[in-house]
Amino acid sequence: MRNLMKSNKLSNALIPVISVLLGLIAGAVIMVISGYNPASAYWSIFQMVFMDPYYAGETFVTMIPLILSGLSVAFAFRTGLFNIGVEGQLLVGWLASVAAALAVPDLPKILAIPFCILVAAVAGGLWGFIPGLLKARFHVHEVITTIMMNYIALHMTNAIIRNFLFAKGEHTPVIPDNASLSSQFLTDLTTGSRLHWGIIVSLIGAFVMWFLLWRTTKGFELRAVGYNPDASRYAGMNVNRNIIISLVIAGAFAGAAGSTLGLGTYHFMTINGDFTGIGFDGIAVALLGLNTSFGVVLAAYLFAALETGGISMQSLGIPNDLVQVIIALIIFFVASSYIIKWAMARLKKGGEVS
């Protein structure tokens, strides 16, 4: 019995590792077919990300919002829900953080930054509340509603910027310094990258997610409802309320991701022609990270490294979109592997209940 248990945990952790390997191998195959050298491609990525301080820094810059996005999706998954709405929640969070920053230019930094992040989280939470309510009350599947909310967010944020927060270029005014997450120290450390203290924010976020889910009574409830809403109902939990809370919290994480963009990476918000892609990548990150805090951080790093490092492949003549393909394949492998695991679990259950 003990052996069975151990091998289970091990096989669980192996799935993302195998998927990554398969994805990289598949990518290598495509490269070879197209006439490129996979070894040199992968090596150049490695070199860029680990040995060049500027790109190392930029990798972290990409990773920061990705962590929070992954946390948002992972948190929702853990509670039985699929949050595809990170793109929209992120946008409203981004805008909210910038607007908040512009509103409090005289607040000391130590208050301004948490304030702006909080506002962003609230905005994101609100954006998650609506699909949550629709699911709890009207049983509308959150996948469709969150996708719709994404587009509404895109158009609404653009309209708000255009009409209320317009500055030169296609974006809002730049936020005042007291709300900025950037630091000269970090920039110098990485020879001029945009690395900012958002890294701390996202790591705090990872801790918060873990703490919330695994240490609080609310987290216990949310996980129970996510695994088995029927048994939870029988045990006396309020399933509908928990669905709403779950999507609100997930939205808050996404909103916080937006704040790292507004306060750290860019210091303003642009009028976006399209989604940032961070939300969709977050889904991959969450899946790959097995919906755990630690896993999400690692997976976010992997994705950020692949994306940033992908640029280096261009000097070898390899389109860096191959990285997109590799990422897509990894997701596909992870998605498919869930079935095997699921099928295994079902087979076991079938034996129990005769």
């Binding site: 509603t145 996708i147 719709m148 909310m149 399209d274 979109d321 393909v325 498919s336």
Partner: protein
């Protein structure tokens, strides 16, 4: 500006925007009616758009002239169908979570197509523009009919008429033929269908492949009538909009047609709104978000109950009694 003049501007624009949605939504109907959720419509449109651009260019090089875009539509259908086999395999045979698979399809389609574009066109992020597009045209004879002519038979590409005809054809197939009855039964009550000897898996595969074919056509139509080239941002949300149209149309082909036209109408208003007196006042943002808000309302039951096929999203496992 007279009403006629207003309509003459709006209708062609609306129909133009709606046509790719119509095709894709019809595809969605096939898949979801058989019980398989297809979030991957966006990815299937991307594949179709890619094929539409690339093959039109290739056919042009082969000297096929104005037939090129039409032929590329056929190829797009085939490629879309093949690509969707991945989704079918994952969802029907491997019983994967259908939503996750759909998301993966979207990622894969985007990455693969952009990569191939760079490969085929010397590192350029976009394909070149096609020479022969399917243009707006005036239907001979019909467009001279007073009133109706200028409104419905002028400045509308032939692909749009094809889309509308297809909608009725699909409606006929789904509601009047044995195949359609069986397809619907598989999506509503697969066990009942199974006890009557219908092969549930096969039906679902067919449903998904058809959605791939139609989605492919939808994407290709978008390229050859509107975008005229393909790049990473060519298809950006139309697939999801088509999904919304299908839901709004209550999984009925004619309903999807109506919903898609409505969405096209909403989209065109935001484009042509400048030239129309009343609408100049309405901020474009409302028109842009209208389709999405309406879908949410429809789902919540405000705009009539949107009832999905009963057994949708649930992998069918034989012999569970």
């Amino acid at each position: 500006m007279s009403l006629m003049q207003i309509l003459e501007i709006i209708i062609p624009s609306a129909v133009l925007s709606a046509t790719p949605l119509i095709f894709t939504a019809l595809g969605g109907v096939f898949s979801e009616r058989s019980g398989v959720v297809n979030i991957g419509l966006e990815g299937l449109m991307i594949i179709g758009a890619f094929v539409g651009a690339v093959f039109t260019i290739w056919f042009e090089h082969l000297g096929l002239g104005a037939a090129s875009p039409w032929l590329s539509l056929v190829v797009a259908a085939i490629c879309g169908g093949l690509f969707s086999l991945l989704h079918a395999l994952a969802c029907v045979t491997f019983r994967a979570d259908q939503t996750v698979s759909g998301v993966a399809i979207n990622f894969l389609a985007l990455g693969l197509t952009v990569f191939l574009v760079k490969k085929l066109f010397q590192g350029s992020g976009q394909t070149p523009f096609i020479d022969y597009r399917i243009d707006k045209a005036n239907v001979p004879l019909l467009h001279d009919i007073p009133i109706i002519g200028p409104l419905f038979f002028s400045h509308i590409a032939y692909t749009s008429y094809v889309a509308i005809i297809f909608s009725f054809l699909v409606w006929y197939v789904i509601y009047k033929t044995p195949f359609g009855l069986r397809l619907r039964s598989v999506g509503e009550h697969p066990m009942a269908a199974d006890t009557l000897g219908i092969n549930v898996s096969r039906m679902r595969y067919i449903g998904v492949v058809l959605s791939g074919a139609f989605g492919g056509i939808g994407g290709a139509v978008y390229v050859v009538t509107i975008a005229t080239n393909f790049g990473p941002t060519t298809i950006s949300g139309q697939g999801f909009l088509a999904l919304a149209a299908m839901i709004f149309g209550k999984w009925n082909p004619i309903g999807a047609l109506g919903a898609a036209l409505f969405f096209g109408f909403a989209q065109s208003l935001s484009i042509t709104g400048e030239s129309i007196p009343l609408l100049k006042e309405v901020p474009s943002v409302y028109l842009l978000i209208a389709p999405y808000v309406l879908t949410i309302l429809a789902l919540a039951g405000f705009v009539g109950r949107a009832e999905a096929p009963k057994a949708i999203g649930i992998p069918y496992i034989k012999g569970r009694r």
